[in-house]
């Protein structure tokens, strides 16, 4: 479980996250949603340690991440897997080398075991026989799946995804969403996904937190979100015609 307590982050004079507290539970797909510029990605980057919060606490299964000693921080980071918006695959490495990279750096596993693990993860994301291809030779959806394989290869306890569906067609998006939900349940990991895709919200939102104007305005699940009674959230949820039609029916 990841616990965020009273998180505050600002850039110069602009407060981007104001006193945010939230609990992301293990084995659940936790979603952070909100309009562009609402602070979703900033929140995620604070949680994984890419940004330093102005104040507040972040606890990984009770372990204080922000004030941790460098060694503990490194230990926690090594339990984290992250899927970036653009995949962030190392473009000088093949798919296999990309997925194997965390094992090469973070473990002392024998080479054949590493390759077994890589092949297992690639199979898990349905990307068998792509081992020797370069990231530039595969589609955006495949790059995202390689990113997921790389994020879980080291048996990560915490999986973070920054807009996993951006730039993907609806069918591939749903496949990625389902894959993330399956992995979360199967390995009982704590998954946090930043998204503004309502399909994802409805498909896999077991816990949803809505950010608006640097505040947490609402939390709940995909069943509650349709009748939250929060005006900003309704505007976000029913922004498109299809959702409005769905509500009216």
């Amino acid at each position: 479980m990841i616990e965020v307590k009273n998180l505050v982050k600002s850039f110069d004079d602009k407060v981007v996250l104001n006193d945010i507290s939230v609990k992301f539970e293990k084995g659940k797909t936790n979603l952070i949603i909100g309009a562009s510029g609402s602070g979703k990605s900033v929140m995620l980057k604070n949680i994984v340690g890419l940004f330093k919060p102005d104040s507040g606490d972040i606890l990984y299964d009770g372990r204080d991440f922000i004030n941790a000693h460098r060694d503990l921080k490194t230990d926690i980071r090594r339990e984290i897997g992250m899927l970036f918006q653009g995949g962030a695959l190392f473009d000088s490495m093949t798919v296999e080398q990309n997925v194997k990279f965390p094992l090469d750096i973070l473990t002392k596993m024998p080479e054949d075991e590493k390759l077994d693990r890589v092949n297992f993860c690639l199979k898990r994301v349905k990307l068998e026989n792509t081992n020797k291809r370069m990231p530039s030779e595969i589609s955006g959806g495949m790059q995202k799946r390689v990113g997921i394989a790389r994020a879980i290869v080291n048996s990560s306890q915490y999986l973070f995804c920054d807009e996993p569906n951006s730039g993907l067609d609806p069918i591939t998006s749903i496949k990625i969403d389902r894959l993330l939900a399956e992995i979360t349940e199967e390995y009982q990991i704590t998954t946090v996904i930043v998204t503004h895709d309502m399909n994802s919200v409805m498909e896999i939102g077991e816990y949803i937190m809505f950010l608006s104007n640097s505040h947490k305005l609402w939390e709940g699940n995909s069943d509650d979100i349709m009748h939250s009674g929060v005006q900003e959230l309704d505007e976000f949820v029913f922004a498109n015609k299809m959702m409005r039609k769905f509500r009216d029916q």
Binding site: K45, V48, G49, L50, R70, K73, T74, D75, I76, R77, R78, I80, M82, F84, Q85, G86, A88, L89, F90, D91, P102, D104, I105, L106, F160
Partner: protein, 244 residues
């Protein structure tokens, strides 16, 4: 001053929280190939022509019949060892390798590859930059030696085929009043210049923000700042080590 402080902090961060020695060995060898081997043709070609042109121009300027032709060899030798081989090669090196380092790191930064390393608990600066600096420190002095040898050989070719000086006079000039310290001086300069080009270019690339346009700007800035740093340190080193 703020940038200088940030640069110094960046350099010190390379040595914190490093990965295993074995990891760096492989990365450094890769960098040696990229930085050194891939620059050999350009550096060799430029040095050959600079040596040849230096010989022709020195001969053109020596119009006093009292000055022996062998002086041409001496001038080309000292010019090459003291300045052309280490400094001009460094400028070329900054243009080729410096811009490549900055572009590479800048692209990694804007495509979140650097963040991916950080999230894994890897010191991205150390992992990405240290091998580039060490690779350059190994390969750049070798490139300078090669440049020196080829420039003097270029001078020999100009002497032989240009007919401005006999090859015997040219070789006599090469051996005349030779001060071994000039070679040491050139090698000291090569280490300093290699460090400056690799570290400044890495710094510029590593802190790139924005998109493709900013990556291009970072590459340009890396070359510009590296060249200024080379020329400035060239003066300081000459003042410290050559002026009695």
């Amino acid at each position: 001053m703020k940038s200088l402080g940030k640069y110094l902090l960046f350099i010190s961060s390379l040595f914190k929280n490093r990965e295993s020695f074995k990891t760096y060995v492989k990365l450094t060898l890769d960098e040696c190939m990229l930085v050194g081997i891939n620059s050999i043709v350009l550096v060799g070609l430029v040095s050959l022509f600079i040596g040849a042109v230096s010989t022709l121009q020195t001969a053109y300027n020596l119009i006093n019949p009292l000055i022996p032709d062998s002086v041409i060899g001496l001038v080309v030798r000292d010019l090459t060892i003291l300045e052309l081989a280490p400094t001009i090669t460094a400028i070329i090196f900054a243009g080729k390798v410096g811009s490549s380092i900055a572009g590479n790191l800048g692209t990694m930064r804007i495509t979140e590859q650097v963040d991916a390393l950080e999230v894994m608990g890897i010191n991205s600066a150390s992992y990405l930059v240290l091998p580039k600096i060490v690779g350059t420190l190994i390969m750049y002095p070798l490139l300078v030696i090669l440049a020196g040898v080829l420039a003097i050989f270029g001078g020999f070719l100009a002497a032989k085929f240009g007919g401005v000086v006999s090859t015997a006079d040219y070789f006599m000039g090469l051996k005349m009043d030779f001060n071994q310290f000039t070679v040491s001086f050139a090698l000291i300069k090569s280490v300093v210049f290699g460090f400056l080009v690799s570290s400044i270019s890495s710094y510029m690339g590593f802190f790139t923000k924005g998109g493709a346009l900013e990556v291009g700007q970072a590459s340009t800035r890396a070359v510009t700042v590296s060249c200024i740093a080379i020329l400035f340190s060239d003066f300081i080193l000459a003042q410290l080590l050559l002026v009695r």
